[in-house]
């Protein structure tokens, strides 16, 4: 937990380090060749840098990378990146990527710094325009770059999705890694709930997402101030694991409910993963005596990143949508507690009576009222229709603490709804066809299911304890399935290879090809019907 607390100043969604020196502002790429790789750099029309790498054994497919969300302003431990920082899907824990392996296979790679005038923030629409310019530039430079894999991670996913729908002629396959695959507002609502629940049970001074909406540096600092309050709580919990009784609200003080129960409830209401880097949700010790307490420590370990998503991305989004978007005046927190969760984690939640008492407190607590402009704005943000027919492959950690895997579930569900509607239209047209021409026209309406979601799984158990029974919260922990944008090289390459196949065939890979690429040991779930925890909103 100490490590997590130390990360307050270096939230995991930030990848630091520049991988490529950028030439001075110029519309034309500047290229050089080294060890069989031609590397080109330049700037887009808005001044953002881009980079392209094409190997000598280039096979005609370029992977266009879209990185995730980056705050525009610095804070301790974080400096907004300038220039291109990652060119392919990198691992944010090990700080490594598979660019060289991809180049060795003859894949081209390209990316751009998603910034305007040095500012990042939530800039999906600008990202789509920049990506279009990057693809055009690449194709102009390399006429044999005939196939395009449009891929990205986290907050880059909205750019990818909007681009694929807007420019299908420039898209041959879509890759969504640990993606904000649906409207960011769905998860921000839960992220903001975290702050609200913490304000009820742990620190009444927390304003959370009610503090958002300020412009520029001032707004950023207000958001950071809220995150710092969470950091302070985490510092204390890192020592006592939430064992002391609740101090807030007054009605529960002295009632015998440990803080950890409210912490677990908070995580469950938000839909946060109940596994973390070091906690498997199963293994017990003398001090972590029950599986649900293991899960509680997992929530504890995941909270910082989840809160950071809510507050930092939330602040950036509030600037885009023009006001406070968070409103929980109609939220029924009791309904957010899944029946399975209240049963499975009953002990960690201190039993039915404690659950009832805590939910009652949430029901009675004064709520936060959003601003109409912000609320409407976030609903309309980054509108995607899920109509892309291009082969789409998603990759998510089953216990991603920052962008929850329910995002991928929601995306697949939305695509499936579109597919089912088209299937019905197709079947109706077939049934009503009376002539050969009508029949042939109907046959052309047949939809194709072209979406595949892959999940990286944790080992079954991996929690370690000290001799005293305290959980070990340092070191690598799970080697798969946890963290944000943290995939092994084997997982990343499996993803890349499947995307390459998809771009060149127009189809998601066959089950045989998938099996070949996710063979035992890779840590990807062979169960293609796997469904992790769903989003709450």
């Amino acid at each position: 937990m100490r490590k997590v607390v130390a990360m307050v100043g270096a939230v995991a969604l930030i990848v630091s380090g520049t991988i490529l020196a950028i030439p001075s502002a110029s519309a034309a790429p500047v290229c050089g060749t080294k060890a069989g790789i031609e590397t080109c750099g330049g700037v887009l029309s808005n001044g953002a840098a881009y980079a392209i790498k094409i190997p000598s054994n280039f096979k005609g497919t370029v992977f266009y990378w879209n990185h995730g969300f980056r705050p525009s302003y610095p804070y301790p431990g974080y400096t907004p990146p300038k220039g291109v920082e990652e060119i392919t899907l990198g691992n944010q824990i090990t700080k490594s990527d598979s660019t060289n392996e991809m180049l060795n296979l003859g894949y081209g790679v390209a990316t751009y710094d998603r910034s305007t005038g040095g500012l990042h923030g939530w800039n999906t629409a600008e990202g789509v325009a920049m990506l279009k310019e990057l693809v055009d530039t690449t194709k102009a430079k390399y006429p044999n770059a005939t196939k395009s894999v449009i891929w990205g991670s986290s907050g880059g996913a909205p750019v990818v999705n909007m681009f694929a729908e807007k420019y299908p002629e420039l898209t041959n396959a879509v890759g969504l890694a640990t993606p904000v695959a649906t409207n960011i507002g769905r998860q921000l609502q839960s992220g903001c709930d975290l702050f609200f629940i913490m304000s009820v049970f742990f620190d009444p001074t927390i304003k959370g997402c009610d503090a958002l909406g300020g412009k520029g540096v001032a707004g950023h600092m207000a958001a950071l101030g809220e995150l710092a309050k969470v950091g302070a709580l985490l510092t204390v919990w890192s020592k006592n694991l939430g064992a002391p009784g609740l101090e807030y609200p007054a009605a529960l003080k002295g009632g015998g409910i440990p803080q950890r129960s409210a912490l677990l409830l908070m995580g469950l209401l938000a839909g946060m993963p109940t596994k973390s880097q070091h906690m498997d949700g199963i293994t017990t010790s003398a001090l972590v005596a029950e599986q649900s307490i293991n899960a509680t420590v997992a929530i504890l370990e995941n909270t910082l990143d989840a809160a950071a998503t809510g507050i930092l991305a939330g602040q950036a989004v509030s600037e885009v949508v023009g006001g406070k978007f968070y409103d929980n005046t109609k939220t029924d927190y009791t309904a957010l507690l899944d029946e399975a969760d209240s049963g499975r984690y009953n002990l960690g939640l201190s039993g039915d009576e404690a659950i009832g008492a805590m939910l009652l407190m949430l029901k009675m607590a004064p709520r936060i009222t959003g601003e109409a402009t912000g609320m409407a704005g976030i609903k309309a943000l980054d509108k995607v229709n899920y109509t892309s027919t291009k082969p789409t492959i998603l990759l998510h950690n089953e216990a991603d603490r920052l962008v929850w895997p329910g995002q991928s579930v929601a995306y697949v569900d939305a695509k499936r709804a579109v597919f089912d509607a088209n299937q019905s239209k197709y079947e109706d047209a077939l049934a009503s066809a009376k002539t050969g021409a009508q029949l042939l026209a109907a046959m052309k309406m047949k939809p194709k299911w072209n979406t595949l979601a892959l999940y990286a799984m944790t080992p079954e158990t991996y929690t370690k304890y000290t001799e005293a029974g305290l959980p070990v919260l340092t070191g690598l922990g799970a080697n798969s399935g946890v963290g944000h944008q943290a995939f092994s090289a084997a997982q990343t390459m499996a993803f890349a290879k499947l995307l390459y196949y998809a771009a060149n065939s127009g189809n998601i890979p066959s089950s045989a090809l998938i099996a070949k690429n996710i063979a035992a040991g890779v840590g990807l779930n062979p169960d293609l019907d796997f469904r992790p925890t769903e989003l709450k909103y």
Partner: protein, 473 residues
């Protein structure tokens, strides 16, 4: 690495040939004139739609071939919750081995794949995944535990996998088939049992102060609801003592038993797991609390579990037997020690002949396992040769209430509820830890999980087939 399961709708098929392929076959057949081609294509289109609406063939469901049916089960085979429960799977396998020795079900041998979840829900989730994706089970059968099963029931149902004869009395699993359409109870619900037990206690000990110790979870909630319907109300912090499920071992339930003692409770009801019953009774003895009567919901009154747990704490068998003597409980089946019952006799023989477990000693857990396997076999026979998951669920909904079993009441299955046994008889443990009727005759009562009345059952249990092989209802 198991075979992959594709998750989404496959292309419209005409049997083994896709619609497009059929059109191409027609299109390039030189003998077909154009009008004939159109007519045929249209006909094929209609055929395609008609065929696509047919139920999947047996071959399309995992876990079933012409020669085998693979069933999956989850239970605690290890850990503190395992005593007693860990005999159920061996009993089921013994019965299935007996069925297989007689040629199986319509030529298919039954294979039971069992996973130990140690009563830890995280392991329930991972082992369910293994049963589904590696062992490719056709159905889940007889899985044990409310808190564990609640972690996987949604996913099992989402996938359309039958989840039959679940060993949990939590009514929430069964009373709304729209929610869990493939889950069917293997026990009566805690509500039904509490209503019947509550009525008896109120009528018999109405002049005594009745209190309760219950675990604050789905089990406890169900029981409280049933007792309330029976007219038994309890006062929190006085006649109602609670504990968080799973904490009884560490707490020792001292404060709870002291509370009931201080309140002057004369009849103590326990709605908790067997290990908690053992702790409560032992603690009461330690603090000098001797209520006039104990009454325990059946899953908390298993004699084997009770005595095994106390035995591990150094309590001699004779002492634990004495503690259990006179304790009131309920059962939907004949007592395991009832040698006059034809089901008991037959199951005991099968257990003797086929159970390979070193801990196969006959008791109520073995009876429950045998009975679940008997019901499963009956349902599989009942569906017939064209066995599919949908057909099995449909069979249970339409014929389940007519199925025979060792139970003295029918299963409550219908399209509107998947509740299990609809009644119980009340008994008390004798000195040999066998449950015996509280009166001179065994009276079986029946009711529902709602507010319906408790009445005497008129059910006539069907006779067991001579070969102990039920061929369907």
């Amino acid at each position: 690495m198991g075979r992959l399961r594709l998750s989404y709708r496959q292309p419209l098929r005409l049997g083994a040939i896709s619609f497009k392929e059929r059109v191409n076959v027609v299109k390039f057949h030189p003998s077909l004139s154009k009008p004939g081609f159109l007519t045929l294509v249209a006909g094929l289109a209609v055929g395609a739609l008609a065929l696509s609406s047919l139920p999947a063939s047996a071959a399309s469901d995992p876990g079933i071939t012409d020669t085998e049916i693979v069933l999956g089960m989850q239970l605690p085979q290890s850990g503190p919750a395992s005593p007693g429960y860990n005999k159920v799977d061996d009993a089921m396998r013994a019965y299935f081995d007996y069925v297989n020795s007689k040629g199986g079900v319509n030529g298919r041998m039954i294979r039971l794949e069992v996973k130990d979840d140690a009563y830890k829900a995280g392991l329930t989730v991972s082992t369910a995944s293994s049963l589904i994706n590696k062992e490719k089970v056709f159905a889940f059968v007889g899985s044990i535990g409310t808190q564990t099963h609640i972690s996987v029931i949604k996913d099992i149902n989402r996938r359309g996998i039958p989840d039959i004869f679940v060993n949990s009395g939590y009514s929430g699993f069964y009373t709304d088939p729209k929610k869990y359409p493939n889950s069917f109870a293997g026990l009566g619900t805690y509500v039904v049992e509490a209503k019947i037990l509550g009525k008896y206690l109120k009528e018999t000990y109405g002049d005594k102060k009745i209190g309760i110790l219950y675990q604050t979870d789905d089990f406890g909630r169900n029981a409280i609801a049933g007792f309330a319907t029976a007219g038994l109300k309890f006062t929190p912090k006085e006649t109602a003592a609670t504990f968080i499920a799973g904490t009884h071992g560490s707490l020792g339930l001292v404060s709870q038993m002291s509370q009931l003692k201080a309140a002057g409770v004369e009849v103590v009801i326990i709605a908790a797991v067997s290990s908690a019953t053992a702790v409560a009774v032992a603690t009461a003895a330690k603090i000098g609390y001797a209520p006039k009567k104990w009454a325990v919901i059946s899953v908390g009154a298993d004699a084997t579990t009770f005595q095994t747990i106390l035995g591990a704490q150094g309590v001699p068998l004779a002492t634990s037997a004495a503690m259990l003597t006179g304790v009131i409980s309920a059962s939907h089946a004949p007592a395991a020690g009832d040698s006059s019952d034809e089901f008991i006799t037959a199951f005991k023989k099968i257990n003797d002949d086929f159970n390979k477990s070193p801990s196969k000693a006959w008791d109520n857990n073995v009876l429950q396992g045998m009975n679940a396997a008997y019901l499963t076999t009956q349902a599989l026979f009942g569906v017939g040769k064209n066995l599919t998951r949908k057909a099995l669920v449909s069979y249970l909904e339409t014929k389940g209430s007519s199925m025979s079993s060792a139970a003295l009441v029918p299963l409550g299955y219908s399209k509107t509820t998947h509740e299990g046994y609809t009644g119980f008889w009340i008994g008390a443990y004798d000195a040999s830890s066998v449950l015996k009727p509280v009166g001179t005759d065994r009276v079986v009562y029946t009711t529902d999980s709602g507010t319906g009345p408790v009445t005497v059952s008129t059910y006539k249990r069907p006779a067991m087939p001579v070969d102990a092989l039920p061929k369907g209802a």
